[in-house]
Amino acid sequence: MSGPREVLLSTHALAVDRGRRRVLSDVSVELLAGEALVVVGPNAAGKSTLVRALAGLLEPAAGEVRLCGRPLAEWPSDARARVLALATSEEEGPDALHVVERVALGRYPHRGPFQPLGATDHAAVARALQQTGIAALADRRLGTLSAGERQLATLARGLAQEPRVLLLDEPAAHLDIGHQLQLFRTLDGVRACGVGVLAVVHDLARAAEWAERMLLVAEGRIAAEGAPDAVLASEAACRAFGVRIRGHAVPTLSHPFYSFEERP
Protein backbone atom coordinates (compact mmCIF):
# COMPACT_ATOMS: atom_id res chain seq x y z
CA MET A 1 0.00 0.00 0.00
CA SER A 2 1.18 3.52 -0.72
CA GLY A 3 1.01 6.78 1.16
CA PRO A 4 0.57 7.28 4.90
CA ARG A 5 -2.25 5.17 6.31
CA GLU A 6 -4.87 6.59 8.64
CA VAL A 7 -4.54 5.80 12.35
CA LEU A 8 -7.81 4.09 13.29
CA LEU A 9 -7.18 3.11 16.88
CA SER A 10 -4.57 4.37 19.30
CA THR A 11 -3.76 4.32 22.98
CA HIS A 12 -1.34 6.39 24.96
CA ALA A 13 0.05 5.23 28.32
CA LEU A 14 -2.99 3.02 28.83
CA ALA A 15 -3.41 1.24 32.17
CA VAL A 16 -6.23 -1.16 33.05
CA ASP A 17 -7.21 -2.65 36.40
CA ARG A 18 -9.16 -5.85 36.97
CA GLY A 19 -10.55 -5.60 40.45
CA ARG A 20 -7.76 -4.05 42.48
CA ARG A 21 -5.00 -5.59 40.41
CA ARG A 22 -3.28 -3.65 37.65
CA VAL A 23 -3.12 -5.98 34.65
CA LEU A 24 -1.94 -3.55 31.98
CA SER A 25 0.27 -0.53 32.34
CA ASP A 26 1.89 2.02 30.07
CA VAL A 27 0.57 0.54 26.83
CA SER A 28 0.84 2.69 23.72
CA VAL A 29 -0.43 1.13 20.50
CA GLU A 30 -1.51 2.30 17.09
CA LEU A 31 -3.57 0.39 14.57
CA LEU A 32 -3.55 1.67 11.00
CA ALA A 33 -6.15 1.29 8.27
CA GLY A 34 -5.68 -2.01 6.47
CA GLU A 35 -3.02 -3.15 8.90
CA ALA A 36 -2.48 -6.67 10.20
CA LEU A 37 -1.32 -6.29 13.80
CA VAL A 38 -0.85 -9.39 15.88
CA VAL A 39 -0.62 -9.49 19.69
CA VAL A 40 1.35 -12.34 21.22
CA GLY A 41 2.42 -13.12 24.74
CA PRO A 42 2.40 -15.82 27.41
CA ASN A 43 -0.76 -16.78 29.30
CA ALA A 44 -2.05 -14.14 31.71
CA ALA A 45 0.13 -11.44 30.12
CA GLY A 46 -2.87 -9.13 29.65
CA LYS A 47 -3.60 -9.72 25.95
CA SER A 48 -7.33 -10.32 26.36
CA THR A 49 -7.56 -7.36 28.74
CA LEU A 50 -5.88 -5.19 26.10
CA VAL A 51 -8.35 -6.28 23.42
CA ARG A 52 -11.35 -5.63 25.68
CA ALA A 53 -10.02 -2.24 26.71
CA LEU A 54 -9.49 -1.34 23.05
CA ALA A 55 -13.09 -2.41 22.39
CA GLY A 56 -14.33 -0.05 25.11
CA LEU A 57 -15.57 -2.86 27.34
CA LEU A 58 -13.11 -2.09 30.14
CA GLU A 59 -12.62 1.35 31.63
CA PRO A 60 -8.98 2.49 31.52
CA ALA A 61 -7.45 3.26 34.91
CA ALA A 62 -5.09 5.71 33.22
CA GLY A 63 -4.49 6.94 29.71
CA GLU A 64 -7.09 6.71 26.99
CA VAL A 65 -8.13 4.88 23.85
CA ARG A 66 -8.88 6.90 20.73
CA LEU A 67 -11.00 5.60 17.88
CA CYS A 68 -10.59 7.55 14.63
CA GLY A 69 -8.98 10.33 16.63
CA ARG A 70 -11.83 10.73 19.09
CA PRO A 71 -11.67 9.44 22.69
CA LEU A 72 -13.49 6.11 22.88
CA ALA A 73 -15.41 7.21 25.96
CA GLU A 74 -17.04 9.99 23.92
CA TRP A 75 -18.44 7.60 21.33
CA PRO A 76 -22.13 6.68 21.71
CA SER A 77 -22.12 2.91 22.09
CA ASP A 78 -24.08 2.20 18.91
CA ALA A 79 -21.89 4.50 16.82
CA ARG A 80 -18.81 2.78 18.25
CA ALA A 81 -20.21 -0.63 17.34
CA ARG A 82 -20.67 0.51 13.73
CA VAL A 83 -16.96 1.30 13.48
CA LEU A 84 -15.38 -1.27 15.76
CA ALA A 85 -16.20 -4.98 16.06
CA LEU A 86 -14.94 -7.51 18.60
CA ALA A 87 -14.99 -11.27 18.20
CA THR A 88 -13.62 -13.56 20.89
CA SER A 89 -13.54 -17.32 21.23
CA GLU A 90 -15.60 -17.19 24.43
CA GLU A 91 -18.80 -16.03 22.81
CA GLU A 92 -21.64 -18.47 22.44
CA GLY A 93 -25.20 -17.79 21.32
CA PRO A 94 -28.20 -19.91 22.32
CA ASP A 95 -28.05 -23.44 20.89
CA ALA A 96 -31.36 -23.16 19.06
CA LEU A 97 -30.31 -20.01 17.17
CA HIS A 98 -29.73 -20.39 13.43
CA VAL A 99 -26.35 -19.29 12.06
CA VAL A 100 -27.90 -16.69 9.77
CA GLU A 101 -29.91 -15.22 12.68
CA ARG A 102 -26.77 -15.07 14.81
CA VAL A 103 -24.85 -13.25 12.09
CA ALA A 104 -27.80 -10.91 11.50
CA LEU A 105 -27.58 -9.73 15.14
CA GLY A 106 -24.36 -8.03 13.96
CA ARG A 107 -26.64 -5.52 12.27
CA TYR A 108 -27.99 -4.38 15.65
CA PRO A 109 -25.72 -1.29 15.82
CA HIS A 110 -26.98 -0.23 12.39
CA ARG A 111 -30.69 -0.79 12.95
CA GLY A 112 -31.17 -0.48 16.71
CA PRO A 113 -33.97 -2.09 18.65
CA PHE A 114 -36.94 -1.33 16.41
CA GLN A 115 -36.00 -0.69 12.77
CA PRO A 116 -36.52 -3.77 10.61
CA LEU A 117 -33.55 -5.13 8.66
CA GLY A 118 -33.45 -4.00 5.03
CA ALA A 119 -31.77 -5.06 1.82
CA THR A 120 -28.37 -3.59 2.79
CA ASP A 121 -28.47 -5.57 6.05
CA HIS A 122 -29.31 -8.84 4.35
CA ALA A 123 -26.55 -8.18 1.81
CA ALA A 124 -24.03 -7.56 4.61
CA VAL A 125 -25.09 -10.78 6.35
CA ALA A 126 -24.82 -12.79 3.13
CA ARG A 127 -21.39 -11.28 2.43
CA ALA A 128 -20.15 -12.11 5.93
CA LEU A 129 -21.33 -15.71 5.60
CA GLN A 130 -19.63 -15.90 2.21
CA GLN A 131 -16.32 -14.40 3.44
CA THR A 132 -16.07 -16.76 6.38
CA GLY A 133 -16.95 -19.75 4.21
CA ILE A 134 -19.99 -20.77 6.27
CA ALA A 135 -22.76 -19.88 3.80
CA ALA A 136 -23.61 -23.58 3.62
CA LEU A 137 -24.22 -23.59 7.38
CA ALA A 138 -26.62 -20.62 7.32
CA ASP A 139 -29.71 -22.65 8.20
CA ARG A 140 -28.04 -24.83 10.83
CA ARG A 141 -28.60 -24.28 14.55
CA LEU A 142 -25.60 -23.24 16.65
CA GLY A 143 -26.01 -26.30 18.88
CA THR A 144 -25.31 -28.59 15.92
CA LEU A 145 -21.99 -26.92 14.99
CA SER A 146 -18.44 -27.78 15.97
CA ALA A 147 -16.48 -25.34 18.12
CA GLY A 148 -14.58 -24.15 15.04
CA GLU A 149 -17.76 -23.55 13.06
CA ARG A 150 -19.26 -21.60 15.95
CA GLN A 151 -16.12 -19.49 16.04
CA LEU A 152 -16.47 -18.72 12.35
CA ALA A 153 -20.10 -17.74 12.99
CA THR A 154 -18.88 -15.28 15.65
CA LEU A 155 -16.38 -13.83 13.19
CA ALA A 156 -19.13 -13.57 10.58
CA ARG A 157 -21.22 -11.59 13.09
CA GLY A 158 -18.28 -9.20 13.48
CA LEU A 159 -17.92 -8.83 9.71
CA ALA A 160 -21.66 -8.22 9.36
CA GLN A 161 -21.14 -5.13 11.53
CA GLU A 162 -19.07 -3.77 8.61
CA PRO A 163 -16.53 -2.22 10.97
CA ARG A 164 -13.38 -0.28 10.17
CA VAL A 165 -11.56 -1.86 13.10
CA LEU A 166 -11.75 -5.58 13.76
CA LEU A 167 -10.48 -6.86 17.13
CA LEU A 168 -10.06 -10.62 17.47
CA ASP A 169 -9.17 -12.67 20.52
CA GLU A 170 -7.86 -16.08 19.49
CA PRO A 171 -9.80 -16.27 16.24
CA ALA A 172 -8.07 -19.51 15.25
CA ALA A 173 -8.29 -21.27 18.63
CA HIS A 174 -10.62 -24.09 17.56
CA LEU A 175 -9.84 -24.21 13.85
CA ASP A 176 -8.12 -27.01 11.98
CA ILE A 177 -5.18 -26.05 9.78
CA GLY A 178 -7.28 -25.72 6.62
CA HIS A 179 -9.73 -23.38 8.33
CA GLN A 180 -6.85 -21.45 9.94
CA LEU A 181 -5.32 -20.69 6.57
CA GLN A 182 -8.74 -19.78 5.22
CA LEU A 183 -9.38 -17.52 8.22
CA PHE A 184 -6.20 -15.49 7.67
CA ARG A 185 -6.98 -15.25 3.96
CA THR A 186 -10.42 -13.91 4.89
CA LEU A 187 -8.80 -11.35 7.19
CA ASP A 188 -6.47 -10.28 4.37
CA GLY A 189 -9.51 -9.79 2.15
CA VAL A 190 -11.12 -7.58 4.79
CA ARG A 191 -7.88 -5.62 5.20
CA ALA A 192 -7.74 -4.98 1.48
CA CYS A 193 -10.91 -2.90 1.99
CA GLY A 194 -9.08 -0.75 4.55
CA VAL A 195 -10.18 -2.50 7.74
CA GLY A 196 -7.52 -2.52 10.44
CA VAL A 197 -7.28 -5.97 12.05
CA LEU A 198 -5.77 -6.55 15.48
CA ALA A 199 -5.68 -10.19 16.55
CA VAL A 200 -4.43 -12.05 19.60
CA VAL A 201 -2.89 -15.27 18.24
CA HIS A 202 -1.27 -18.06 20.26
CA ASP A 203 0.47 -19.86 17.42
CA LEU A 204 3.66 -17.78 17.06
CA ALA A 205 4.66 -19.20 13.68
CA ARG A 206 1.20 -18.56 12.21
CA ALA A 207 1.16 -15.08 13.81
CA ALA A 208 4.54 -14.20 12.31
CA GLU A 209 3.53 -15.40 8.89
CA TRP A 210 0.32 -13.37 8.75
CA ALA A 211 1.07 -10.12 10.55
CA GLU A 212 2.75 -6.97 9.29
CA ARG A 213 3.57 -5.94 12.81
CA MET A 214 3.82 -7.85 16.07
CA LEU A 215 3.22 -6.67 19.62
CA LEU A 216 4.69 -8.77 22.41
CA VAL A 217 2.84 -8.34 25.71
CA ALA A 218 4.41 -9.69 28.88
CA GLU A 219 3.47 -9.04 32.48
CA GLY A 220 1.05 -6.30 31.51
CA ARG A 221 3.51 -4.27 29.44
CA ILE A 222 4.63 -4.11 25.86
CA ALA A 223 7.90 -6.03 25.85
CA ALA A 224 8.69 -5.71 22.16
CA GLU A 225 7.13 -4.31 19.03
CA GLY A 226 8.02 -4.39 15.36
CA ALA A 227 8.40 -6.71 12.40
CA PRO A 228 7.26 -10.21 13.50
CA ASP A 229 10.54 -11.92 12.66
CA ALA A 230 12.53 -9.31 14.59
CA VAL A 231 10.23 -9.54 17.63
CA LEU A 232 10.46 -13.32 17.74
CA ALA A 233 14.22 -13.16 17.38
CA SER A 234 14.50 -10.75 20.31
CA GLU A 235 15.76 -11.61 23.77
CA ALA A 236 12.47 -10.20 25.12
CA ALA A 237 10.49 -12.95 23.36
CA CYS A 238 12.74 -15.68 24.76
CA ARG A 239 12.38 -14.22 28.24
CA ALA A 240 8.60 -13.73 28.00
CA PHE A 241 7.86 -17.29 26.92
CA GLY A 242 10.77 -18.91 28.73
CA VAL A 243 11.80 -20.76 25.57
CA ARG A 244 14.46 -20.47 22.93
CA ILE A 245 12.97 -19.35 19.63
CA ARG A 246 14.95 -19.93 16.44
CA GLY A 247 13.99 -18.95 12.92
CA HIS A 248 15.42 -21.07 10.10
CA ALA A 249 15.48 -19.76 6.57
CA VAL A 250 14.05 -22.36 4.21
CA PRO A 251 14.71 -21.76 0.51
CA THR A 252 11.20 -22.71 -0.64
CA LEU A 253 9.37 -20.64 2.00
CA SER A 254 8.91 -16.88 2.05
CA HIS A 255 8.90 -16.91 5.84
CA PRO A 256 11.38 -18.42 8.27
CA PHE A 257 10.51 -21.75 9.82
CA TYR A 258 10.42 -21.50 13.63
CA SER A 259 11.55 -24.01 16.19
CA PHE A 260 11.03 -23.77 19.95
CA GLU A 261 13.03 -25.39 22.75
CA GLU A 262 12.65 -25.19 26.50
CA ARG A 263 15.38 -23.21 28.15
CA PRO A 264 17.29 -25.04 30.84
Partner: protein, 341 residues
Protein backbone atom coordinates in the same frame (compact mmCIF):
# COMPACT_ATOMS: atom_id res chain seq x y z
CA UNK B 1 -34.49 -19.04 7.48
CA UNK B 2 -37.56 -20.70 8.97
CA UNK B 3 -38.95 -24.01 7.86
CA UNK B 4 -42.53 -24.09 6.75
CA UNK B 5 -43.48 -26.20 9.76
CA UNK B 6 -42.35 -23.62 12.29
CA UNK B 7 -44.48 -20.92 10.67
CA UNK B 8 -47.55 -23.01 11.43
CA UNK B 9 -46.77 -23.27 15.14
CA UNK B 10 -48.23 -19.89 16.14
CA UNK B 11 -51.49 -20.25 14.18
CA UNK B 12 -51.81 -23.79 15.52
CA UNK B 13 -51.30 -22.56 19.08
CA UNK B 14 -53.87 -19.79 18.56
CA UNK B 15 -56.36 -22.40 17.36
CA UNK B 16 -55.55 -24.63 20.32
CA UNK B 17 -56.09 -21.71 22.72
CA UNK B 18 -59.48 -20.88 21.20
CA UNK B 19 -60.48 -24.51 21.52
CA UNK B 20 -59.17 -24.79 25.09
CA UNK B 21 -61.01 -21.61 26.10
CA UNK B 22 -64.30 -22.91 24.72
CA UNK B 23 -63.82 -26.33 26.27
CA UNK B 24 -62.98 -24.81 29.65
CA UNK B 25 -65.99 -22.49 29.63
CA UNK B 26 -68.35 -25.32 28.71
CA UNK B 27 -67.04 -27.97 31.10
CA UNK B 28 -67.38 -27.85 34.88
CA UNK B 29 -69.60 -28.92 37.76
CA UNK B 30 -72.58 -27.59 35.75
CA UNK B 31 -71.82 -28.57 32.15
CA UNK B 32 -72.97 -26.10 29.52
CA UNK B 33 -73.60 -27.20 25.95
CA UNK B 34 -70.77 -26.45 23.58
CA UNK B 35 -72.91 -24.91 20.80
CA UNK B 36 -74.88 -23.04 23.45
CA UNK B 37 -71.69 -21.42 24.77
CA UNK B 38 -70.61 -20.45 21.26
CA UNK B 39 -74.04 -18.94 20.51
CA UNK B 40 -74.18 -17.04 23.80
CA UNK B 41 -70.70 -15.62 23.25
CA UNK B 42 -71.51 -14.57 19.69
CA UNK B 43 -74.71 -12.96 20.89
CA UNK B 44 -72.82 -11.07 23.57
CA UNK B 45 -70.48 -9.76 20.90
CA UNK B 46 -73.53 -8.64 18.92
CA UNK B 47 -72.86 -11.09 16.10
CA UNK B 48 -75.96 -13.19 16.69
CA UNK B 49 -79.48 -12.12 17.57
CA UNK B 50 -80.71 -15.14 19.51
CA UNK B 51 -79.15 -15.37 22.96
CA UNK B 52 -81.45 -17.80 24.71
CA UNK B 53 -79.50 -20.99 24.00
CA UNK B 54 -78.27 -21.49 27.56
CA UNK B 55 -81.15 -20.19 29.62
CA UNK B 56 -80.85 -17.61 32.38
CA UNK B 57 -78.91 -19.80 34.84
CA UNK B 58 -76.56 -20.99 32.14
CA UNK B 59 -75.88 -17.42 31.09
CA UNK B 60 -75.18 -16.33 34.64
CA UNK B 61 -72.74 -19.20 35.12
CA UNK B 62 -71.06 -18.46 31.79
CA UNK B 63 -70.66 -14.72 32.18
CA UNK B 64 -70.08 -14.24 35.90
CA UNK B 65 -68.21 -17.44 36.83
CA UNK B 66 -66.72 -19.37 33.93
CA UNK B 67 -65.68 -16.73 31.45
CA UNK B 68 -63.73 -14.46 33.81
CA UNK B 69 -62.05 -17.47 35.36
CA UNK B 70 -61.02 -18.97 32.03
CA UNK B 71 -59.78 -15.66 30.67
CA UNK B 72 -57.81 -15.10 33.85
CA UNK B 73 -56.23 -18.54 33.46
CA UNK B 74 -55.16 -17.57 29.93
CA UNK B 75 -53.68 -14.25 31.11
CA UNK B 76 -51.81 -15.85 34.00
CA UNK B 77 -50.42 -18.69 31.88
CA UNK B 78 -49.51 -16.45 28.96
CA UNK B 79 -47.86 -13.86 31.19
CA UNK B 80 -45.81 -16.37 33.17
CA UNK B 81 -44.66 -18.13 29.99
CA UNK B 82 -43.50 -14.87 28.39
CA UNK B 83 -41.63 -13.93 31.56
CA UNK B 84 -40.01 -17.38 31.57
CA UNK B 85 -38.91 -16.97 27.95
CA UNK B 86 -37.43 -13.53 28.68
CA UNK B 87 -35.58 -14.69 31.80
CA UNK B 88 -34.22 -17.73 29.95
CA UNK B 89 -32.77 -15.37 27.33
CA UNK B 90 -31.45 -12.79 29.80
CA UNK B 91 -29.89 -15.42 32.10
CA UNK B 92 -28.77 -17.53 29.13
CA UNK B 93 -30.18 -20.55 30.86
CA UNK B 94 -32.93 -22.56 29.16
CA UNK B 95 -34.24 -23.68 32.56
CA UNK B 96 -34.68 -20.25 34.21
CA UNK B 97 -38.06 -19.57 35.79
CA UNK B 98 -39.81 -16.51 37.31
CA UNK B 99 -39.53 -18.21 40.72
CA UNK B 100 -35.74 -17.80 40.60
CA UNK B 101 -35.98 -14.05 41.06
CA UNK B 102 -38.02 -14.29 44.22
CA UNK B 103 -41.32 -13.36 42.56
CA UNK B 104 -43.32 -16.15 44.20
CA UNK B 105 -41.77 -15.83 47.64
CA UNK B 106 -42.12 -12.03 47.63
CA UNK B 107 -45.74 -12.22 46.52
CA UNK B 108 -46.51 -14.74 49.26
CA UNK B 109 -44.94 -12.52 51.89
CA UNK B 110 -46.95 -9.52 50.66
CA UNK B 111 -50.18 -11.51 50.72
CA UNK B 112 -49.59 -12.91 54.20
CA UNK B 113 -48.67 -9.47 55.49
CA UNK B 114 -51.93 -8.04 54.14
CA UNK B 115 -53.90 -10.83 55.78
CA UNK B 116 -51.99 -10.56 59.05
CA UNK B 117 -52.64 -6.84 59.32
CA UNK B 118 -56.32 -7.39 58.58
CA UNK B 119 -56.04 -5.32 55.42
CA UNK B 120 -57.18 -8.17 53.22
CA UNK B 121 -60.63 -8.33 54.78
CA UNK B 122 -60.94 -4.57 55.32
CA UNK B 123 -59.85 -3.24 51.94
CA UNK B 124 -61.14 -4.63 48.67
CA UNK B 125 -58.37 -6.05 46.49
CA UNK B 126 -55.75 -5.53 49.21
CA UNK B 127 -54.46 -9.12 49.01
CA UNK B 128 -53.54 -9.14 45.32
CA UNK B 129 -52.17 -5.61 45.57
CA UNK B 130 -49.97 -6.56 48.52
CA UNK B 131 -48.84 -9.70 46.70
CA UNK B 132 -47.95 -7.59 43.67
CA UNK B 133 -45.99 -5.14 45.82
CA UNK B 134 -44.21 -8.04 47.53
CA UNK B 135 -43.19 -9.56 44.20
CA UNK B 136 -41.79 -6.27 42.91
CA UNK B 137 -39.98 -5.60 46.19
CA UNK B 138 -38.38 -9.05 46.11
CA UNK B 139 -37.09 -8.64 42.55
CA UNK B 140 -35.74 -5.16 43.29
CA UNK B 141 -34.04 -6.49 46.42
CA UNK B 142 -32.48 -9.34 44.44
CA UNK B 143 -31.27 -7.00 41.74
CA UNK B 144 -29.74 -4.39 44.00
CA UNK B 145 -28.19 -6.80 46.51
CA UNK B 146 -26.62 -8.76 43.65
CA UNK B 147 -25.52 -5.55 41.97
CA UNK B 148 -24.08 -4.01 45.12
CA UNK B 149 -20.85 -5.97 44.86
CA UNK B 150 -19.93 -4.07 41.70
CA UNK B 151 -21.63 -5.57 38.71
CA UNK B 152 -24.62 -7.89 38.72
CA UNK B 153 -23.27 -11.19 37.44
CA UNK B 154 -25.82 -13.74 36.39
CA UNK B 155 -24.78 -16.39 38.90
CA UNK B 156 -24.83 -13.71 41.57
CA UNK B 157 -28.39 -12.78 40.64
CA UNK B 158 -29.60 -16.38 40.71
CA UNK B 159 -27.98 -17.16 44.05
CA UNK B 160 -29.22 -13.89 45.55
CA UNK B 161 -32.69 -14.86 44.30
CA UNK B 162 -32.47 -18.10 46.24
CA UNK B 163 -31.32 -16.30 49.39
CA UNK B 164 -34.01 -13.59 49.19
CA UNK B 165 -36.67 -16.25 48.51
CA UNK B 166 -35.56 -18.22 51.56
CA UNK B 167 -35.65 -15.10 53.73
CA UNK B 168 -39.10 -14.12 52.46
CA UNK B 169 -40.27 -17.69 53.04
CA UNK B 170 -39.03 -17.61 56.62
CA UNK B 171 -40.79 -14.31 57.27
CA UNK B 172 -43.96 -15.73 55.72
CA UNK B 173 -43.87 -18.71 58.11
CA UNK B 174 -43.35 -16.46 61.11
CA UNK B 175 -46.28 -14.25 60.08
CA UNK B 176 -48.50 -17.27 59.45
CA UNK B 177 -47.84 -18.59 62.93
CA UNK B 178 -48.60 -15.17 64.40
CA UNK B 179 -51.84 -14.72 62.44
CA UNK B 180 -55.24 -15.58 63.93
CA UNK B 181 -56.45 -18.93 62.75
CA UNK B 182 -59.62 -17.80 60.99
CA UNK B 183 -57.54 -15.56 58.75
CA UNK B 184 -54.97 -18.19 57.87
CA UNK B 185 -57.33 -20.12 55.64
CA UNK B 186 -57.71 -17.22 53.20
CA UNK B 187 -53.97 -17.04 52.81
CA UNK B 188 -53.54 -20.79 52.44
CA UNK B 189 -56.02 -20.77 49.57
CA UNK B 190 -54.05 -18.06 47.90
CA UNK B 191 -50.68 -19.74 48.54
CA UNK B 192 -51.81 -23.00 46.97
CA UNK B 193 -52.59 -21.14 43.77
CA UNK B 194 -55.98 -21.15 42.14
CA UNK B 195 -58.60 -19.19 40.28
CA UNK B 196 -61.66 -20.10 42.30
CA UNK B 197 -63.98 -17.16 42.88
CA UNK B 198 -62.04 -14.72 40.74
CA UNK B 199 -64.19 -12.23 38.87
CA UNK B 200 -64.01 -9.53 36.24
CA UNK B 201 -62.16 -7.14 38.57
CA UNK B 202 -59.30 -9.62 38.69
CA UNK B 203 -59.41 -10.04 34.93
CA UNK B 204 -59.21 -6.28 34.39
CA UNK B 205 -56.34 -5.82 36.83
CA UNK B 206 -54.38 -8.75 35.43
CA UNK B 207 -55.09 -7.75 31.82
CA UNK B 208 -53.79 -4.24 32.41
CA UNK B 209 -50.39 -5.37 33.73
CA UNK B 210 -49.97 -8.65 31.86
CA UNK B 211 -51.02 -7.45 28.43
CA UNK B 212 -49.13 -4.15 28.55
CA UNK B 213 -46.05 -5.84 30.01
CA UNK B 214 -46.10 -8.60 27.41
CA UNK B 215 -46.60 -6.07 24.61
CA UNK B 216 -43.56 -4.09 25.78
CA UNK B 217 -41.45 -7.25 26.09
CA UNK B 218 -42.39 -8.32 22.56
CA UNK B 219 -41.50 -4.83 21.34
CA UNK B 220 -38.10 -5.18 23.02
CA UNK B 221 -37.52 -8.51 21.29
CA UNK B 222 -34.31 -7.53 19.51
CA UNK B 223 -32.51 -6.20 22.60
CA UNK B 224 -33.54 -9.43 24.35
CA UNK B 225 -32.01 -11.44 21.50
CA UNK B 226 -28.78 -9.42 21.60
CA UNK B 227 -28.59 -9.88 25.37
CA UNK B 228 -28.98 -13.65 24.91
CA UNK B 229 -25.57 -13.64 23.20
CA UNK B 230 -23.97 -12.80 26.53
CA UNK B 231 -22.96 -9.61 28.31
CA UNK B 232 -19.70 -9.06 26.48
CA UNK B 233 -21.00 -9.55 22.96
CA UNK B 234 -24.12 -7.50 23.71
CA UNK B 235 -21.96 -4.64 25.01
CA UNK B 236 -19.66 -4.87 22.00
CA UNK B 237 -22.73 -4.55 19.76
CA UNK B 238 -23.52 -1.25 21.49
CA UNK B 239 -26.35 -2.43 23.73
CA UNK B 240 -26.45 -0.67 27.14
CA UNK B 241 -26.36 -3.98 28.99
CA UNK B 242 -27.13 -2.95 32.57
CA UNK B 243 -29.96 -0.56 31.75
CA UNK B 244 -31.53 -3.04 29.34
CA UNK B 245 -31.30 -5.87 31.83
CA UNK B 246 -32.78 -3.76 34.62
CA UNK B 247 -35.65 -2.67 32.36
CA UNK B 248 -36.39 -6.22 31.23
CA UNK B 249 -36.27 -7.60 34.77
CA UNK B 250 -38.60 -4.79 35.89
CA UNK B 251 -41.13 -5.63 33.18
CA UNK B 252 -40.78 -9.34 33.95
CA UNK B 253 -41.44 -8.67 37.63
CA UNK B 254 -44.48 -6.56 36.74
CA UNK B 255 -46.03 -9.31 34.63
CA UNK B 256 -45.11 -12.21 36.91
CA UNK B 257 -46.12 -10.18 39.98
CA UNK B 258 -49.55 -9.41 38.50
CA UNK B 259 -50.07 -13.04 37.48
CA UNK B 260 -49.02 -14.32 40.90
CA UNK B 261 -51.13 -11.70 42.68
CA UNK B 262 -54.36 -12.90 41.09
CA UNK B 263 -53.65 -16.62 40.90
CA UNK B 264 -51.22 -17.38 43.72
CA UNK B 265 -48.21 -19.51 42.98
CA UNK B 266 -48.48 -21.36 39.64
CA UNK B 267 -45.04 -22.94 39.30
CA UNK B 268 -43.23 -24.33 36.26
CA UNK B 269 -45.46 -22.71 33.61
CA UNK B 270 -42.78 -20.13 32.88
CA UNK B 271 -40.27 -22.90 32.44
CA UNK B 272 -42.29 -25.45 30.48
CA UNK B 273 -44.02 -23.40 27.80
CA UNK B 274 -40.97 -21.59 26.35
CA UNK B 275 -38.70 -24.60 26.84
CA UNK B 276 -41.05 -26.84 24.88
CA UNK B 277 -41.67 -24.29 22.12
CA UNK B 278 -38.08 -23.08 21.55
CA UNK B 279 -37.10 -26.12 19.44
CA UNK B 280 -40.18 -25.49 17.27
CA UNK B 281 -40.04 -21.73 16.67
CA UNK B 282 -36.40 -20.95 17.52
CA UNK B 283 -35.05 -18.67 20.24
CA UNK B 284 -35.66 -15.29 18.54
CA UNK B 285 -38.05 -13.26 20.66
CA UNK B 286 -40.31 -12.04 17.91
CA UNK B 287 -41.53 -15.60 17.39
CA UNK B 288 -40.79 -17.23 20.74
CA UNK B 289 -42.59 -14.68 22.94
CA UNK B 290 -45.94 -14.81 21.10
CA UNK B 291 -45.70 -18.60 20.89
CA UNK B 292 -44.88 -18.84 24.61
CA UNK B 293 -47.83 -16.59 25.47
CA UNK B 294 -50.25 -18.81 23.57
CA UNK B 295 -48.67 -22.04 24.83
CA UNK B 296 -48.63 -20.89 28.46
CA UNK B 297 -52.25 -19.76 28.16
CA UNK B 298 -53.33 -23.17 26.81
CA UNK B 299 -51.40 -24.90 29.57
CA UNK B 300 -53.01 -22.98 32.45
CA UNK B 301 -56.51 -22.96 30.94
CA UNK B 302 -56.35 -26.76 30.70
CA UNK B 303 -54.74 -27.10 34.13
CA UNK B 304 -57.49 -24.95 35.65
CA UNK B 305 -60.06 -27.12 33.88
CA UNK B 306 -58.33 -30.10 35.48
CA UNK B 307 -58.62 -28.59 38.97
CA UNK B 308 -62.39 -28.32 38.50
CA UNK B 309 -63.09 -31.65 36.85
CA UNK B 310 -60.50 -34.22 37.94
CA UNK B 311 -62.08 -34.71 41.36
CA UNK B 312 -65.83 -34.70 41.87
CA UNK B 313 -65.57 -33.82 45.56
CA UNK B 314 -62.91 -31.11 45.96
CA UNK B 315 -61.31 -28.50 43.78
CA UNK B 316 -57.60 -29.24 43.45
CA UNK B 317 -55.08 -26.40 43.90
CA UNK B 318 -53.96 -25.08 40.50
CA UNK B 319 -50.33 -24.68 41.60
CA UNK B 320 -50.21 -28.28 42.78
CA UNK B 321 -51.46 -29.45 39.39
CA UNK B 322 -48.90 -27.47 37.36
CA UNK B 323 -46.17 -28.62 39.73
CA UNK B 324 -47.18 -32.27 39.27
CA UNK B 325 -46.71 -31.89 35.53
CA UNK B 326 -43.89 -29.35 35.68
CA UNK B 327 -41.53 -30.99 38.14
CA UNK B 328 -41.09 -34.23 36.14
CA UNK B 329 -40.81 -32.14 32.98
CA UNK B 330 -38.10 -30.03 34.61
CA UNK B 331 -36.16 -33.10 35.73
CA UNK B 332 -36.31 -34.66 32.25
CA UNK B 333 -35.24 -31.37 30.64
CA UNK B 334 -32.40 -31.08 33.16
CA UNK B 335 -31.15 -34.55 32.29
CA UNK B 336 -31.36 -33.86 28.57
CA UNK B 337 -29.54 -30.57 29.12
CA UNK B 338 -26.73 -32.18 31.10
CA UNK B 339 -26.45 -35.17 28.80
CA UNK B 340 -25.77 -32.78 25.96
CA UNK B 341 -23.33 -30.47 27.77
Amino acid sequence: MTSRGSRLVIPALAGALALALLLATAAGSVPLSFPGVVKALLAKLGLLGDASALGATGETILFTVRLPRVLLAALVGGGLAVVGAVLQAVFRNPLADPGLLGVGAGAALGAVLAVHLGLASAVFFALPLAAFAGALAAVLAVYFIAGASGRASLHGLLLTGIAVSALAGAMTSVLLVATEEFRVKAVLFWLAGGLDGRGWTHVQAAALFVLSGVALLVLLGRPIDVLSLGEQEAASLGLPVRATRLGLLGLAALVAGAATAVAGSVPFVGLMAPHALRPLVGPLSRRLLPAAFLGGAVLVVLADLGTRTLSARVELPLGALTACVGAPYFLLALRANEGRG
